[in-house]
Symmetry: C2
Subunit: 164 residues, 2 copies
């Protein structure tokens, strides 16, 4: 990957211990979002942090085999050292809305587009999502890119599914 | 993490090979975004895919020590198997805008909030960002959470900085 305009191929050594740790999405109701990310996608909740004074809570999830042990400080350190963490922000009270107050970035104004999970067998994964009544934005075989799918999380954020 | 409403702590075994692969952000100009993510944050470009018929290009970056070897199929498989990939989408022509046409999700309509990098020494990292003239959304010591910072990427997406 040389000769790509703007690309810097000789990174400062100090950056090489930086970790792309997490992506944060606001969610209407953590009950339904945790159900989606833990039951449908198999993520584990590593950490929940309540900021009651400021009326919000954070939920940190990741695809880990084992939950971290130890006190909140140990779990916080473990979580900060991972890549591929999803942070869900719940502003207290939004769960009382019938519909999500949040915007998924794929209509104007656009910006953020989606998160993506890769799976070992995309056909099996999509059949499983259908059996769980997960809504699809795009099914396998539809549209220009036939070998990928998009499902929707409870706030209508798009979750791309690709085969690893 | 038991007894959290909605949380499913006995995940379907088929989900345990799912990988939270990437987060996609649209960018105005890949030249300036690649400069930011490769020079300032040290990410490596794994793969660039052009869809000229549909007038967009995709750039896949990650914090990897070594670039993958092999043809595009091998690189694609390598990329899909990682966690912590950042996908930048360039819709051809947006680079001609003087300002980004994209919305960072932190004013109405809100939704996506930020991505986050963890670093070994946040004070040193923030001093380095200052020396590189990176704009800050929030400096260390400001606001309610004094031990985190937010910098802004070239499209004004917020990038949280925490200490691992």
């Amino acid at each position: 990957m040389e000769n790509i305009p703007g690309l810097y191929t000789n990174p400062d050594p100090v950056t090489q211990d930086y970790i792309f740790n997490h992506t944060m999405l606001r969610v209407r109701d953590p009950k339904v979002s945790l159900d989606f990310y833990s039951r449908v996608l198999g993520m584990k909740l590593l950490r929940k942090v309540d900021f009651n004074e400021w009326k919000f809570s954070l939920y940190f999830l990741a695809m880990v085999k084992e939950l971290p042990a130890g006190d909140d400080s140990a779990v916080s350190t473990f979580t900060a050292g991972l890549s591929g963490v999803l942070e869900l922000t719940h502003n207290h009270g939004t769960e009382e809305n019938a519909e999500t107050p949040y915007h998924n970035g794929n209509t104007e104004p656009r910006g953020f587009g989606h998160i993506c999970f890769s799976v070992p067998d995309i056909k099996a994964a999509c059949e499983r999502f259908e059996s769980l009544n997960v809504p699809f934005q795009k099914r396998l075989g539809e549209g220009g890119m036939k070998n990928i799918a998009f499902i929707k999380d409870p706030d209508n954020y798009w979750v791309e599914i690709i085969e690893a």
